[in-house]
Subunit: 335 residues, 2 copies
């Protein structure tokens, strides 16, 4: 419907999903791949291999709580993890702009080293391309990951059922706000830090706690709203959230209001939503809260019958509002 690519086509909302559905999926992806999850899972000689890729173009390349290097490692680890896979290896392809200080490159690569070491997931292969000054913006990093799925349940966005419970591992919107404030050079007394973190050990604990986890999504571009709308559409269900139960740090909430952003649309880089069978919700929640990255885990809502496949939010003042997939580009180049 658009003649040219818009910034919005890259921001995790409706525009991007349209481009994927209209161009990329029909031309590139296998016709029998009904649901698009965080990773593709293929059987190879009896092994369930997970495979996922992300390009990182965040601006600025350094921000409170992280940088493009740490983001590139954690982001691909998280897409493997929420697909139920134990991450095995990563690759890293670099597109460098002519003139990038070598010192800056070393800082970014060193923070990738730290992130990979902390997560225990090695980078085993890579590529180095350089483009003329002005043809890229300092550095872009594309990481790709391989993992092994050993979960007996089927994790997929189309597995949610009415009665299931929606869990979230902690406060939202910190990453997007940290990047936007750094980009606009707005200083807060207490700097808001990105929540970027590798979620694979948190997920492993959750998977051990229940064989009836239906699906998980890391809520990156398009935030909680995109992740949950994708699940509602794929599973053909409704999702009802309780605003009072969705944790958000006060200063992040204030910054969202300052920037005119809906926290549910803002990108996270260390948050996941999980749809769990009601009878296992308590046990999974306990497992999450026992993990450093799930201490503030909480139930934020439930899956309901709804032929309109809507995500609804019970607001603090009472009543419901629709939580829509963000349309265009709330936050371009946010990861």
């Amino acid at each position: 419907s658009y003649r040219t690519v818009l910034l919005g086509h890259g921001s995790g909302g409706r525009l991007m999903h349209e481009l994927i559905e209209k161009v990329f999926r029909p031309l590139l992806l296998p016709p029998d791949m009904r649901v698009l999850n965080d990773a593709a899972v293929m059987t190879v000689d009896g092994l369930q291999l997970a495979f996922t890729t992300d390009a990182f173009v965040v601006d600025p390349i350094v921000f409170p709580g992280g940088d493009i290097g740490r983001l590139a490692v954690n982001g691909t680890i998280n897409d493997l993890a929420v697909s139920g896979a134990r991450p095995l290896f990563l690759s890293a392809a670099f597109i460098l702009e002519e003139g990038l200080p070598i010192e800056t490159l070393c800082q970014i690569v060193d923070s990738m080293r730290q992130a990979a070491a902390e997560a225990g997931v090695p980078i085993v292969t890579g590529d180095t391309k350089v483009v003329n000054r002005g043809k890229a913006d300092k550095i872009f990093i594309t990481t790709t990951g391989i993992g092994i799925v050993e979960y007996e349940g089927t994790l997929s966005a189309d597995q949610a059922r009415p009665g299931d419970v929606v869990l979230l591992n902690g406060p939202i919107a910190a990453h997007g706000i940290a990047v936007m404030l750094a980009r606009e050079q707005i200083e807060f007394e207490q700097p808001i830090r990105s929540d970027t973190a590798p979620l694979h050990t948190l997920v492993a604990a959750m998977l051990r706690a229940s064989p009836r986890i239906r699906c998980m999504r890391d809520a990156t571009r398009g935030g909680l709203a995109s992740a949950l709308n994708e699940i509602a559409m794929s599973s053909r269900v409704g999702i009802q959230l309780d605003e009072a139960r969705i944790p958000i740090q006060d200063e992040v909430k204030g910054a969202c209001e300052l920037l005119g952003l809906d926290p549910l649309h803002v990108a996270n880089e260390g948050k996941l939503v999980a749809i769990v069978a009601r009878e296992d919700a308590e046990r999974v929640l306990e497992a999450m809260r026992a993990h450093p990255l799930g201490q503030e885990a909480t139930v934020i809502g439930e899956v309901v019958e709804d032929p309109r496949h809507l995500v609804l939010l019970r607001t603090r003042v009472g009543g419901f509002r629709v939580v829509s997939m963000p349309a265009g580009e709330p936050l371009p180049r946010i990861c």
Copy 2:
């Protein structure tokens, strides 16, 4: 030794290898990974998995014989193939510049579809990022591939031994020249076409013909010179080539002279060199010539003892000249 990233750091020559040795390898790659081959090969539950990634930033994005889409598919298939792996799956991460015509995107993605279909290697996962106008150049594509190695020999750049024979599957330098002429908009009556092609079935035939193939390299950035110098250094041997035996189309040779380029330094996208035990050379050559992509396969030289680890060329006029790894940027953004 340089304060900032130069175009040369991305062109497959000495500068790039220095950057990889000084920054990327020590910080990112596993310490025990002695040799850097076209793909990393890791054992997973008894399976030999090959894993490789390449970013494609070719300028222009369309050129006689191919485009960035076809290149991105064939290039990663070839890095898997020359590592002895049967390619299984590809991922494709797109960085799109705001304002890129959707029609151009569709053409590129459709040519990826064709290349993947022709090669029989599916693209199963991807990513779509958009950056502001002027922060990228139309489109960059990073493809990553997974394959399975089923060859009983050990293919690696450090396996060449004095007495081995050097095989090449066809005429060189066509890709780099095709891209440079398109970039400079130089018209030839007979347009020179890129040789981009998927080499996995050619390689499969070669592997079946001999268990004593020591290593293979697709001669992309830095051309034949880089590929052979990497092998000579890793295997601590000398390589002697015979200029008269290295096939090159006349118009390509003419264009190299016009552009002041050494054909041995010019990138190929459908050519490989193979180091084979002498006793199997004839059989492997036969297998290559029986394949559409090896019809002009020929012996171009041999591996010798040489403590200096030099690649030498016996020239048509007699005598030898050193074939050095290209230093900086003979051909920036050539793939």
